[in-house]
Symmetry: C2
Subunit: 322 residues, 2 copies
């Protein structure tokens, strides 16, 4: 299917090195559950905000050897690792010539596999670098679909700002891609609280699969998303920071709730996670408009107003503001 | 309604002081959500295990003054407190003569209002002490209904061992009462991890109401209970400790999940709660058959085999084994 989308594109690189940056993105309305595990087709729409300068920069060039070489943050990825295989399979699916292999060099300025959408920005940067190498002329929805094939939420990492991923309905996924939204929220500040940069005990892929298969509570999730999505768009339209934060936070908590109710349970909360959640609730009870969201990992992303950053820094340690 | 149940009973005390003990109980399949807020009628059945010697002892006698006097663990309860009003209203609803008032003296050997079913054993001990004072001759289901009117889960605190509360269907609640179950699990040990004995920021009453009203995920809860209840009875029938623990733990987590998805969120987890949850999961991953349950509060109740107590004490601090 992918091959067909790319048949009209150049078969040879137009330059020695393709290069691109893609921002990480965090979902305010979460992507949680797939209707197709191979094509990464989601059960619901989702909505994200991109993380500006935080993300992945990738350089890609032809490799004269008959295999790919992958460097992540300067470390060579072992050829027998799952990550190498996933990346190579993906490259195989988009490359114009089975005889071509690549050097891929990615640097990320955020922790890998710790729920900070490292695979999202990683695959998006890879697709963009690939497009740059071959000088592809491809519409954005197709690029977004390619990203999605690598890692679902990567399809949202092609743009800065607010982005919506349309779940689509087609079995082949050709209507499942992301697009930027026309909203801005100039006073929004996003603070990363990296509580653990250790690799996750269970990947989001696996956690998602287990939730869909075993969580009794999951059947209510699509309704929650539909409701939250409509409300958050209204809040963004109105530049209503407070409501946006409320909705994003409740959506994240509902996602973690579906995980808690899986068998066996998936709990990404660490003690430190819960400590910050309570701190944020306390600040909010005291009148501050501050919220959090949390992806499939223990780290907290704070949603605050720019003007409150200084005050929040006095209350919560080591926040990395994007 | 209550008055009718009691019309045939003695109108005067048969002794100076009525006295009774009722154990606290912890639900293995949780009571979460009411179909009638006044009568404490639940949406689903629930199943509990009583806590042996941990509970409430209550002495009750006539008070010559025109008001009730309530002592809880030696402290006089203020007449303008919500607790005093709740207790007095309850006494008003069961007493045979509007001119009678009482001295109520309760001692509990567990923290009050910290999710350890203090109101359950408190109201059950009160009803039993009242029955003792007047020498009531009343079938157990009616006693259980009276307890339920005071505090829902109190209806399960009339017995030791495993108890099931039948939700019933009648609007007047006359088919909503608890009864002991014929199962035993001799090697079951219950360990209390009291992480905070501070009063809860939100009562279980209020948390339950908020969940039913606002949690999108709650609509799946009754199905979860039906499923878990059937499975845990089978496990109890088979004296299958491991399955019993699995089911109790997943049921508790599903309940907390419904709370996380309320608006605003109810999160009884403290950092210490999550730390112990992870410790228990780690022990289980290492092969130990140990589980937990958690009610509407931050404290953890460990479910283990008697033979593993010593080992678990080396891994987790300050467990109070019942």
């Amino acid at each position: 299917m992918l091959a067909e989308l790319l048949t009209t594109q150049p078969k040879k690189p137009s330059k020695l090195v393709g290069e691109a940056f893609a921002p990480s993105n965090i979902a305010l309305i979460k992507y949680w559950g797939k209707r197709d595990l191979i094509l990464n087709l989601p059960i619901t729409n989702s909505l994200s905000i991109s993380l500006g300068e935080k993300g992945a920069r990738t350089r890609i060039s032809l490799n004269s050897a008959n295999q790919n070489t992958v460097l992540l943050n300067g470390h060579l990825i072992a050829h027998d690792s799952a990550f190498y295989k996933r990346l190579s399979d993906f490259l195989d699916s988009i490359k114009p010539d089975p005889q071509q292999f690549y050097n891929v060099e990615t640097t990320m300025n955020l922790p890998v596999a710790a729920g900070l959408a490292s695979s999202a920005c990683g695959f998006a940067a890879l697709v963009k670098a690939f497009a740059d190498l071959y000088n592809w002329d491809i519409p954005e929805p197709i690029l977004s679909i390619l990203c999605r094939m690598g890692s679902g939420s990567a399809c949202r990492s092609l743009w800065q700002g607010f982005v919506e991923w349309h779940a689509g309905e087609r079995a082949d996924g050709l209507d499942s891609f992301a697009a930027p939204l026309p909203y801005t929220m100039p006073d929004l500040a996003i603070g990363l609280c990296i509580l653990s940069s250790a690799e996750k005990p269970i990947s989001s892929r696996e956690a998602m699969r287990r939730t869909v298969e075993t969580s009794t509570l999951y059947e209510s999730w699509p309704k929650q998303v539909m409701f939250d999505l409509a409300e958050i768009k209204q809040a963004l339209e109105n530049q209503d920071f407070h409501n946006m934060g409320c909705i994003a936070e409740r959506n994240a908590l509902a996602m973690h709730a579906t995980m808690l109710a899986t068998a066996p349970a998936v709990c990404y909360f660490l003690p430190e996670t819960v400590a910050i959640m309570h701190k944020i609730w306390k600040l909010r009870a005291e009148g501050l408009s501050v919220f959090f969201t949390e992806d499939a990992g223990p780290n907290i992303k704070i949603l605050a107003r720019q003007t409150d950053i200084q005050f929040i820094n006095q209350q919560i340690e080591s926040i990395d503001w994007v």
